[in-house]
Amino acid sequence: MNPYKPFNVKIRDILTETEDKSLKTFTFEFASPEDEAAFDFTCGQFGMLSIPGVGEIPIGIASSPTEKPVVKFTVFKTGRVTTHLHNMKPGDFMGIRGPMGNGFPMGRMEKKNLLIIGGGFAFTTLRSLVEMILQPQNRDRFGTVDVIYGARTPGMLLYRDELEAWEKRSDINVHITVDGTDDPDWAYHTGFVPMVTESCAPKADGNTMAIVCGPPVMIKFTRPVLRDLGYGDEEILMSLENRMKCGIGMCGRCNIGQELVCGDGPVFTLAQLNRTPGEF
């Protein structure tokens, strides 16, 4: 088996998520049922979006395993591959490799209350997690669920329809915030994620896990807030990214000390990361 060879996929649907059109969600379907079965993923894993002749990029899986047979990725337009991808259209073919990475530690998270904190477009794998949890067959496996999600402006929020749907439910507390807005009717929070976390997040009770995904600066300022709320380093999960090429632990470049983001991560506990040089 050649682990570098992608599965053939077709773009079924493309949804522009943000008003600046820099983020789009791509829905893929597999060309063959064998590939579809082989792409057996859990929340928090990622895949390599592979465009022959252009290149490959690692992107977190935005859909929940419960949404199979399709798989979704939300992609920010920034480099060569993402720019090419943004110009593709439904019906186009390309490749996907994966799933890769450890994903969220479901075993440890079960029966626990969850505090999910996301900022910007790093929210994608958290969407996968929330979507999975909210399925009727899964909801009872977890305690309370609090979601704090921030974007720069209302127009930069991802998954708006879903956020609205989550808002209406009683089994999940959603705290949406934006850095700033001139919309006088804005009904949610304004301010950075760490501030909202300080005021809205439940205190640690020994039975809650915090899951944090976001840009480095958000992570930096959220860490002390969580500590003040009483969360231990073992109770904080973080999903990281680093430049990578192979995704299967061989090309070397995504290392943080001896840990590889692609294989040992991308999800780490803060306690694990504290033992590394923190090069991410």
Partner: protein, 359 residues
């Protein structure tokens, strides 16, 4: 049959005989030095060589390797219009490759590389097929280079652990030991003569002399027990790295460096995805698409390279350091960086911290 013997004049005939069942590779003159190459019919390796500039890792892990081919739609030449055909790279012949003249430490390096390319989760098919098909006819080094510290790095001029046969230059003949079954098969195919008890004695004497000559410095005994972060935050890194120009000479010459890049190349609708050697010394290596780079500065990349070899790797695999002491990086570094001195500095830093901790 444990000891073998082949006179120097008979080497060519023996290899010609062996080439009926084996492809042969070995050191040959290339440019101003020597390199390992697959040999053509009748070509004989230069067993008088001292070292090759590039390591023999390219026999398992070539600098550029096509991983698969694809075709782009002819009409537009743009990806996306039709399902891309991901074609397997042409499968290479799996005839056993006998590498004749492999130095013992370079052989050990191949085993260290395997730790990366054959993990519990994934196997790299390109590397592992070649690895399994390789017979290693080692050549002990009776006069190791002054920069060679393989004995200190867990191998040595007569290390038998990673070769199938180990030959040594005894003047007009090579005498040697058959170490594995693979080696016995090759010795049979090449028609090596059995050696005498005197040969065994001579072999042992050569070994003793070479190991005495070999530099046993540097010590790195304290690095193992040191805390990763103490070493990482030690204050010598910036000064030690000052002369480093962050080129890739050391990583390309290194027999144990395995990092690679993946690149696509397309021409007239035909494409190939390639794996290429890469170097952790370049800033592009770790730069995110956003522009953020966790190892933005040259000394951080320098530190990562040595921490990887001397701390991260030993901690992760428990197989010693990721260095076999060949000395290539020392002789080839344009900035005069010497890994032995970096090891010593790390060891000293470890000692300082340990002293501070224990009263």
């Amino acid at each position: 049959m444990n000891m073998i013997r082949v006179t120097k004049q008979a080497v060519a005939t023996a290899l010609a005989k062996a080439s009926k069942s084996y492809a042969i590779a070995g050191p040959v003159k290339a440019g101003a030095g020597h390199e390992f190459r697959c040999l053509g019919q009748g070509q004989v390796p230069d067993l008088e060589y001292t070292h090759t500039r590039l390591s023999p890792k390219s026999l398992l892990f070539p600098q550029a390797e096509p991983m698969f081919h694809f075709k782009l739609p002819e009409t537009t030449g743009e990806p996306g219009d039709t399902p891309p055909a991901f074609l397997e790279a042409e499968s290479f012949k799996e005839a056993p490759l006998a590498v004749v003249g492999l130095r013992p430490w370079d052989a050990r390096a191949l085993d260290l590389l395997k730790l990366n390319f054959d993990s519990p989760d994934y196997t790299d098919p390109f590397f592992i097929k070649r690895y399994n098909a390789m017979v290693r006819v080692g050549l002990a080094d009776i006069h190791p280079d002054p920069e060679n510290f393989s004995l200190a790095a867990g191998s040595g001029p007569f290390d038998e652990a990673s070769v199938d046969i180990l030959l040594a230059d005894a003047g007009d003949a090579f005498i040697g030991k058959v170490i594995t079954g693979k080696g016995r098969d090759f010795a049979g195919a090449a028609g090596f003569e059995p050696g005498s008890p005197d040969d065994a004695k001579a072999f042992a004497a050569l070994k003793a002399a070479a190991e005495k000559e070999a530099d046993i410095l540097p010590a790195c005994d304290r690095i193992n027990d040191a805390d990763t972060l103490d070493l990482y935050h030690a204050d010598f890194w910036e000064a030690a790295a000052f002369s480093c120009i962050n080129c890739g000479a050391c990583t390309f010459a290194c027999p144990t460096c395995w990092c690679f890049d993946i690149q696509d190349e397309v021409n007239q609708g035909k494409g190939v995805r390639l794996r290429l050697w890469d170097s952790c010394m370049t800033d592009l290596y770790s730069a995110h698409a956003s522009g953020h780079n966790p190892r933005e500065k040259g000394f951080q990349r320098f530190r990562n390279r040595f921490m990887h070899k001397l701390k991260y790797f030993p901690d992760k695999y428990g197989a010693g350091i990721m260095c076999v002491g060949c000395g290539r990086c020392i002789t080839q570094c344009p900035g005069g960086i010497d890994i032995r001195e970096v090891m010593a500095a790390m060891n000293a830093a470890a000692a300082t911290v340990q002293q501070e901790v224990s009263p």
